[in-house]
Amino acid sequence: MAATKHPQILFASMLRGGQTVLLGEAGWVGDPREAVVAHDVEAAAALERRGKEEVARNNVVDVYLADVEIGADGAPAPLHYREKRRLAGPSVRPDLWARREERLR
């Protein structure tokens, strides 16, 4: 299996609420620790396939893969600041960034 340059996770926005989500084992999650990480081309393609199926089911929109690095705690962290911002919320209103579980409701 060909390795990707960097591990990858799948980003999307929920159709109803617009929240940023990541593809997890059992569905869309807000916590990167619960995201499925693709380490090779085949796994990344599988993530994209699942994402497109979810788009077709009208659960999410704007699905794309983003490069990550795996931290010491084993959690994936985006390499690019744009995706870091998507996960961290507006830096200027941290008071609004409720717990991820709440945001996804």
Binding site: G18, V61, G89
Partner: protein, 574 residues
């Protein structure tokens, strides 16, 4: 939209301060709400794909941003009633996160609506004669104007009747709903340009001919974005009776020759630049001469009917000088400072125009909480006939305040953190949402504005520096107007990091100019220090009464480049 209810302007027992919907307008907006409700239902049920739905939601001002949907609400030429402002607050509480963001197009954006709630939001807006139509898409967008319209002492004519006339003409215009690109129009009727008309696709300046007849100087092809251009005058005078036909001719030429092949070259400014202003004039005049004037025949009665909505409110007869105001200024220095920075002279004797800054020190430019919106609605009723204006500089104006009431108003504003004395000063920063919210952004802009604001928070020093426009955009699309800031800041990505280019010399007024790049990009942490150096240089070099932009023009860009960067500056936590 054309209104058809001739007695509308005279029927109310309260002052008429804005255009009011008639049955035609109401039916049109309600039909759009119902239509969008159905479109959302079909999208959520899967009958519409995202590719099919996206253009429909954009036609109703609904974008998908980094963290959520964003709904852009139209505020025609920035005018709001107290009732409308209260409704905006209610929507912020009920459907969003308790605040809204006032934009450089005099609109309001909600950052957190859910798709399924948007039809209800639009219905709530329609109940107070508001909507989100044409706040996105390749159509004629919200017509903007001078926030001091109707009350400015330097005004030839109130531009709002013209702006409303154009709003009605351009709403769902069948020929111009799918232009090569978006199209923005601004109107001013004053001798000083507070609406940045030189940086619009069409800028209109109300002028008088040799006989005193009112008409329009027409500027075409201005704009910001990745290719900033100053608009060119294509006609020194277009008679009022010919205005719609003339604009129709411009739009037709643009519709025919605009670059639909390349999104980045599709604005009318590129067309004007590529063919030249003389050829543009020739094409427009040719079209204007050939156009069937029948559908565009000027209806003087209709214009007068619209103008009646903007008649002055029932001012009291007052002396030009308020002893109560002078006394309070002597007694309270903070209040005196506020009056000197945020209060402008008014056409009516004894009245004043108040700019309420949405730029508290270290705050988010343009944001207002629902509580602040309600307070603004309340004070507008208590002190100003219930009228408010949104400015393109992301502030709020109370256009008719008695000088005698200024102190009481100031106390109310102070209690709500709305009395920052910085209108037009270095901390009155225009700033787009940037990468904290916007899907197009390449860097954050708000934290940079906050850092500059904190750096220059000393009110005495701000006033010492004087008039200075700092404008920040988080990407090349320039929603933060960085090109026309005396100091402009553009956030970009450089080697995977946020980087900020600084420009100098931008000017949004009739002496329009586009800022010039100072040097290589700097980090966010370095921006306040760079600006400090520029300010120190300015203060050391200026002559009596010379503004930053004036000095830059006198000394030239090269002298500022020498001064722009010193080592050892402190930074900011971004």
């Amino acid at each position: 939209m054309t209104a058809h209810e001739p007695n509308l302007a005279a029927r109310s027992n309260e002052p008429i301060i804005s255009y009011r919907y008639d049955e035609h307008d109401r039916a049109f907006v309600r039909a759009r709400v119902a239509e969008f409700r159905e479109q959302v239902r079909r999208r959520l049920e899967g009958a519409l794909t995202e590719d099919e739905f996206r253009p429909l939601r954009l036609m109703n001002g609904l974008y998908l941003q980094l963290h959520a949907y964003m709904l852009r609400v139209a505020i025609p030429y920035g005018g709001l009633t107290a009732k409308q402002m209260r409704r905006l607050a209610e929507i912020a509480d009920r459907f969003d996160k308790g605040y809204g963001h006032f934009t450089t197009r005099q609109n309001l954006q909600y950052n957190w609506p859910k798709l399924e709630d948007v039809p209800d939001i639009l219905e709530a807006l329609a109940e107070v004669e508001m909507h989100a139509i044409q706040t996105s898409g390749n159509c004629i967008r919200n017509v903007t104007s001078d926030q001091f319209a109707g009350v400015a002492v330097d005004e030839i004519e109130d531009p709002r009747p013209t702006a409303e006339f154009l709003r009605q003409w351009s709403s769902l215009h069948p020929e111009f709903s799918f232009l090569p690109r978006k199209f923005k129009i601004a109107v001013t009727g004053a001798r000083e340009d507070r609406a940045a008309i030189s940086f619009h696709d069409i800028g209109l300046r109300i002028v008088e001919d040799a006989n005193g007849a009112r008409g329009y100087e027409v500027h075409v092809g201005g704009g910001l974005g990745r290719t900033p251009m100053v608009g060119k005058v294509v006609r020194d005078f277009v008679a009022r009776a010919d205005l719609l036909a003339y604009l129709e001719a411009i739009l037709r030429v643009y519709n025919r020759f605009g670059r639909r092949d390349n999104k980045f070259k599709a604005r009318i400014k590129i067309l004007v630049h590529e063919i030249g202003v003389d050829e543009m004039k020739r094409l427009v005049e040719e079209e204007f001469a050939a156009i069937d004037r029948g559908p565009f025949a000027f209806d003087a009665d209709e214009f007068a009917r619209i103008a009646a909505f903007f008649a002055p409110p029932p001012y009291e007869t007052l002396p030009g000088r308020s002893e109560a105001l002078e006394t309070k200024k002597r007694e309270n220095r903070d209040f005196a400072v506020f009056v000197s920075t945020n209060v402008a002279p008014h056409k009516a004797s004894g009245y004043a125009i108040v700019t309420v800054s949405l730029k508290p020190i270290g705050g988010i430019p343009g944001d207002a909480s629902s509580a602040q919106m309600r307070l603004l609605a309340d004070v507008s009723e208590r002190f100003g006939f219930g009228e408010l204006r949104v400015t393109h500089t992301q502030n709020i104006v109370l256009p008719h305040v008695k000088q005698d009431d200024l102190f009481a108003l100031w106390r109310e504003l102070s209690a709500a953190d709305l009395a920052t004395s910085n209108a037009g000063l270095i901390t009155d920063i225009i700033c787009c949402p940037g990468l904290d919210y916007c899907a197009l952004a390449t860097a954050r802009s708000i934290p940079v504005a906050q850092a500059i604001s904190r750096r220059f928070q000393d009110p005495e020093r701000q006033r010492l520096i004087g008039e200075l426009g700092v404008k920040i955009s988080g990407c090349i699309n320039a929603c933060g107007h960085h090109h026309i800031g005396a100091i402009g800041i553009l956030g970009l990505e450089k080697k995977g990091q946020e980087s900020y280019q600084i420009t100098l010399g931008g000017d949004p007024t009739f002496s329009a100019s586009i800022g010039e790049l100072l040097g290589p990009g700097v980090t966010a942490q370095e921006v306040p220090g760079v600006i400090e150096n520029l300010i120190e240089f300015y203060l050391s070099q200026r002559r009596e009464g010379e503004r930053f932009i004036d000095l830059w023009r006198r000394l030239g860009h090269a002298r500022f480049k020498e001064a722009w960067r010193r080592e050892g500056e402190d930074g900011v936590d971004i």
